[in-house]
Each structure stands twice: as C-alpha cells, then as structure tokens.
Symmetry: C2
Subunit: 433 residues, 2 copies
C-alpha cells in the first residue's frame, strides 16, 4: 500500500511535467531536407501529444562555416558587428525552411528572428550574452496555435543591431527561450542519444546516464564531453531549467512518449537525481601540453610574473604544480596549457629571462588529463584515495593533481590513458546501469 502510493505520486509528478517544452535542433539535425523531415516528425509527435512547443534551430550543417569563409574574404575579425549580420543568415534560412516543411504538413508554424522576439543581448558582437527575452510575442503565437520556429544563435543589441552568441550559441538561445516562456523542459536534439559515463569509443561498456547534475555536466563539458555549450548549462543552472539531451535520429524515440524516462539524459539540479553513485562519469583530454621550468629561482613574485604574463597573452593555464624547494632557493614549476598554445607559452617564458632565472625549460605533449566527476564526492570521503590507489595498482604514475568539489583530475602519460579510464570506470561501478 505504501509502495503503491509512492508510485502514484511519482506518476502524477510525471504527468505534470513537460506540458510546455522548447525543442532545439542542431546543425547535424538540420543538415538536409531528409534530416529536416525527421525534425518535423519529432515536432508532429509532440503536437499530437498535446504538448505546447517552441522550436529553436541552428543553421544547416556547414552553412555557418561557409558564411564565415565569405566574411573572411571581405574583412577581418575586427569587424564582428558586420560578420554577425552575415553569419546570422544561416539560422534565418534554416528557420524558414523548417517552417515551410511544417506548413506543408498543415502545421501552422512561423519562422522568428532575434529582432522579432526581440531577444536582447549585451556585450561584444560575436560572443554577445543574452540579457532579456521578451516572451509576449512567442506566447501569443503559441496561444493561437502557431509554432514559433526560432532562429538560434542570434539576437539584437540595445542599438538594434544584429548580434551572435558565439559558436554553439543556439543551445543558449534554447535555454533562454525556455526560461522566458516558463517551459517545463528544454529538449536538445542532437546526433548523440545522451551523456555517457565515459567516452564509448574508449570504454565500450560506458552507460548512458538517465540524469546528470548541472555542475557535473559543466565539468564533463569542459573536459571534452562536448555535448552542450557550457553557457547554456550555466544559464539553465541559474534558472533551474532542466535540459534533456536526446537524439534526432534514433527511430525508437519517435514512438516513445516524451515523458518516458528512457529517453536521453536529463541535466537537472541535484535534487532531481536519486543516484547512489559517488562518481558519475569519467572524462579525459588529450589536447593539453606540459611545460616544466627547472631550477627556477624561488623568490616572492616569480609565479605572479610568469602566470600574469601568460594570461596577458591570452594563454589559459590549467594545472599548476610547484615542488617544494630543496635548497630553499630553487624549485621546479610545472603547468599545463592547450597544445595549440604551447609555442606561444614558451615564447612568453623566454621573454622573461631578464626578470626570472631558471636552468632549463622542458615541454611534453605525451600527456593526458583524466578526471572523475560526481556530486557524490561532496558527501563521500576517500574518493581521491581510491582513484590514486587504482592508478597505482595499474602502475600509472601521477604527474599532477587538481581537485574541485565535484571533480578530481590527474595528469598521466598519454600511453596509459585507455588503461586508466577502463580501470576507474570499473572501480566506480559505472559499467553497470
């Protein structure tokens, strides 16, 4: 009896959910007329379920690159306000094409550009941030049975000029619209069917997660599991708007009711997650490089000098390890940067030879960063210790360590990355669903 009551309560919660949603389709979902036809199928299914929907679309795959190359012929990166005018046409076209295809199915749909909402942004062109979404027009359309097909990625500035939100900005548009119209869910349709415990190409037994917290998603994304644009997750976290990552192309999904718990991965706040796993996922990055400054003169201000100059040159430093000085006068300093920044980083250090003294500058690209991520770490001791001992058992040397509340990252030799991931995936019981 007790159990039954719980089931009923859960079910009624489910029924309440997902009555008004935003559906967002990325560039691969909009690649050609066949793909867009599948997109229309998803929209048709939601409408037949009685769901109230607004749709956000990216440009057709490849189109943004074509427009960027056209803009490159005309000018340079300094003219971002006019580049935005050019690049935003990709979404303008795709929103109208989807509307036409829906109209042919007798679905009343209308393309909506940033200026028509209006979706107001602030900050610099090319990577503007959304400051305001007026929802009246969209809500009026929806009330009148017209599906708004919103061009993602674009908005207007306070000066009434076209802006764009930066690469992947359509995810952020979708979340902002969902918050603006008080949707129950922001469904992100993409070319993967969810977020996995680790990269399935390396860990074939990696499991699709049903849920993941916003914070875990942020850590996963910045670690290489690039499914959602980071800013869209931050925005969703601020407004507590659940996002679901799901596939446009999995046929089963067409039959599934949108309220089914089997679809995709829901990114939500911790409260919505009832998992007992301490570690939710394992991420990695092979794109970092390590710099070591040997026998660095150890005096106050040296670290500030080095990292200040790197930052001034736009070089993002990730992990930093400084050994204890043996003689009280010299130390070895190690840090990691993106591989693409390695040569600039070396130039910066070398240019400081007047102010800082060291014996030798060493570099290595033969490294990988491995991270375990999980909100469960907050309440569980010994997670780091377990990670280190698993790596030790596998004879994998740790070169550097960084930790946050919900993430532990280690730097290891590149050749060990696969062995390390498999061992940890199994140790934290991620192989089982």
């Amino acid at each position: 009896m007790y159990l039954k009551l719980i089931v009923i309560e859960l079910k009624s919660t489910m029924d309440q959910k997902y009555k008004k949603i935003v559906m967002k389709f990325g560039g691969t979902s909009m690649a050609d007329m066949d793909c867009i036809s599948k997109v229309a199928d998803h929209i048709e299914r939601e409408l037949s379920n009685g769901t109230l929907i607004a749709v956000v679309v990216s440009a057709m795959a490849g189109e943004t690159d074509r427009l960027i190359s056209l803009a490159d012929q005309a000018g340079n990166n300094m003219q971002q306000s006019e580049r935005d005018v050019i690049i935003s046409t990709g979404e303008q076209v795709s929103s109208a094409i989807l509307s036409m295809i829906l109209n042919r199915r007798n679905i009343d749909a209308r393309s909506i550009q940033g200026w028509q909402i209006p979706l107001i942004t602030r900050g610099i062109h090319g990577s503007a941030r959304i400051s305001n979404v007026k929802s009246n027009h969209l809500e009026n359309l929806m009330k009148n049975g017209i599906v708004p097909i919103i061009a993602g990625f674009q908005g207007i500035s306070e000066e009434n000029r076209v802006t764009t939100l930066g690469r992947g900005g359509s995810d952020t548009t979708a979340v902002a619209i969902a918050c603006g119209i008080h949707a129950d869910l922001c469904d992100i349709y993409t070319d993967v069917d969810g977020v996995y415990t680790s990269d399935p190409r390396i860990i074939p037994v990696a499991q699709k997660m049903k849920h993941i917290s916003f914070e875990e998603m942020l850590e996963m994304a910045s670690q290489g599991a690039k499914v959602l644009q980071t800013r869209s997750v931050e925005l969703a976290m601020s407004y507590n708007m659940p996002i679901r990552v799901r596939s446009t192309f999995i046929e089963n999904d067409f039959e599934n009711n949108t309220n089914s718990t089997n679809i995709g991965t829901v990114v939500t706040n911790e409260d919505g997650i009832l998992e007992d796993k301490v570690v939710s996922g394992i991420a990695y990055s092979k794109s970092e490089a390590k710099v070591t400054i040997q026998q660095l003169e150890d005096k106050p201000g040296v670290a500030a000098e080095i990292f200040g100059n790197l930052a001034d040159n736009g070089i993002n430093v990730d992990m930093i390890v400084q050994n204890i000085s043996a003689d009280g006068m010299h130390t070895d300093l190690t840090f990691t940067v993106q591989e693409t920044d390695l040569s600039s980083a070396k130039l910066v250090i070398e240019s400081l030879s007047n102010t800082i003294k060291y014996a030798k500058l060493e570099e290595s690209k033969d490294i990988a960063k491995l991270s375990i991520i999980g909100v469960g770490m907050r309440s569980h001791a010994g997670v780091a210790a377990q990670m280190f001992s698993v790596l030790a058992e596998n004879a994998i040397n740790i070169q550097a360590i960084t930790t946050s509340e919900i993430k532990i990252s280690v730097l290891i030799e590149l050749k060990h990355i696969e062995k390390a991931m498999k061992a940890l995936h199994s140790a934290y019981k991620l192989d089982q669903n």
Copy 2:
C-alpha cells in the same frame, strides 16, 4: 556677356544638384570581391566629392537563384512569407560584405536591413509594395558621417514579418529611399552605361541618350529594354525623383565628377529634357505570338467572352485587331500573347467552343513587335504616317498596329525586324548624337 551669364547660371544650377544621392548597385556589380572593390571605389569618390550618400545593394549575382532553389526544395510558391525570409538573406549578406570592405578603407559604413529602417510594405509577400520609408534612422546615420548600406529588395509588413518586393525590387528600394531622404538623384549602377536609342547589338550606330523621360523609359522597359524595374520608374515619376543609369565598370566614370553631364542616362520628367527629336528610341520584342480566330461568329459579347476568359486564366493579351465583318455575321479576330502563353491561350479558346462559333484557329510565332517611342509625338503630327511609309518603302507588311500617346507599335514578320529597325533608326535621325 549674355552667353557668359547663362553659363554661370547653368553652372550654379549644376552645383546645387546632386549634393545628396542614393547609389544603387545591382547583382552584377556585387558579383565577387573584385567587383565589390569597384563599388567601394565609386563610394569613395562620391565621399571625397563631399556628396552625402546612402547606398542600396542587391544580392551577389546568382545568390538569389541559389536561395530560390533552396526554398523550392522545402516547399512551394504558396508559402511566400517564409520564402521571403530565405530569399532576403542574399541582400543581408551583400550589405554586410560591402560595409566590411568600406570599413577596411576607413570609411564608416553600416549595413541596414529593412526592419532596421524600417521600410514598411503592404500587399502580398513576394511582391509587396512599399508603403512607408521612415527616414529618421538613415538621416541620423548620415548626419553622423556613417554611410548606410541598405539591403535592397526587402521590407517588413505591418505584422512585422519580412517581405520582398519581387524580382528587381532593389531598384524600387533605391528610389523609395531617395524619395524618403529627399535626395537630389538616384544613381543606378549597373552593367550597361546608359539607355540607348535602340539595341546596339542590332543597330551598331545606336546612341546613348543623355536624357529620357519617365514615360519614355516606361515604354522602353516594357518593350524589352530591361534596364530598370518598371515599378521603380513609376515611383520615381510619382515623386519626380531623377534616376541616372550608369555603369559600375567603365573606368572613365571613376574620374568623372558625378555632376558631369557625360555620365550615363538621366531619367527625368519632360521639363528637364531639351531634345528636339520627335522619336527618342526604337524598341522591339520577339517573344510574342499571334493567334487568329477565322470566321468568328460576329455577335455582341463575343470579344468580352474571349478576352474575359483569357484574363481569368492569367494570360496577358497585348495587341488586338478585328477586321470589319464582310457579311455582317462573321469576322477574323487577331491578337498577340507572350509566346510562353500561346498553348494555354489556345486551350482557353477551344474550351469556349460551346458558346462561340468559328471556322479555324491559327497561330504564328514568326512575328515581332516594333515600337517607336517619344514624348515629342504629342506635339508632332505625322509620326505614324512616316513610320508606315518607311516600312512600306522597305516592303515590310504591317499585320497589326497599336498606339499610345508616346508610342506606336506594329506587328511585322520576324525576318524583317532588323531591316525595319535600321530603316526607322535612320529615318528618325537617331544615328546622330
């Protein structure tokens, strides 16, 4: 002394002229980065002359066709409102590209879309008509030394949706903007250097006209001298806005001061034209076909029945000739339609066989229409008589005649067209400048 005064007066009139102009560049002028660079040269020259300018651009050559074909893949002609959203991106892109190229030359320029002006339209999508151009925003930009680069062809409806003005609509945008900002001239840059007395491919001695009246231009345009969109000329005539047709690509024009009378052809009202020629130009059309209904029962209502049904089927009839009935009961009726409408026209006539009686339906594509055009006809008698006698001298039979106040058109055998045009061009002294 008297002569000198006149010269000074003429000069001061010239100086007053052309202080504020609209410069419009068509698709061939915007074809690629090299062409757009020439466009920028023209703009730079005007600015260095101290001229106040607003610029209107078409889409890059071929781009509108590409976008139409994309729209065709998505839907049909019935969805014109969404097609407008797609097709208008061509001008959006070209306006931003030209702005970027100007910015690189340190010219402060800004792309402006229809919604940013706003340029309000009414009527159906795909061939909307301009109802209102708000000039405040444009005038503010110009006052602040910023050149507005306006996307032609597009506007918005009263419902805030994107509209387009129909093929060639950028000419109309340019004239509407010129009227809105009270410009002195609307300069239409294109791939020809002016309007000629006749087709130079047929009449090598055809002369470029310095001036032509709005009405003559309308008659020339509808007769095949397709240099300007008809609606743009009608609009210019209503507001008495002079248009100049000139070439983007003639190098000499770069050196000429914009106020030089040697550039292009100015389309203006009759008052501005001081020509003594009765006939200004000779036009022709080879795209018409002739239909003859032989032994048609001659009773009231027959003509209305035939031409009413043709009109209902969207078939435009040009010339109509009805012979006098010999027996008071039967007649021969001849009319012309566009060649592309010929088969539909025959089907319409045949479908009327229950209500109208005739002996035989004949058709011919071996015809051409030849027109002489000139506002001088209004005040000169005998122009038609001269035309007919010139044709008679050359043994060219006239199959049909229509006349308007400033135009006389005749239908002749196709094989005679070149001979007829040359004879008339010479007879009306158009060979000499």
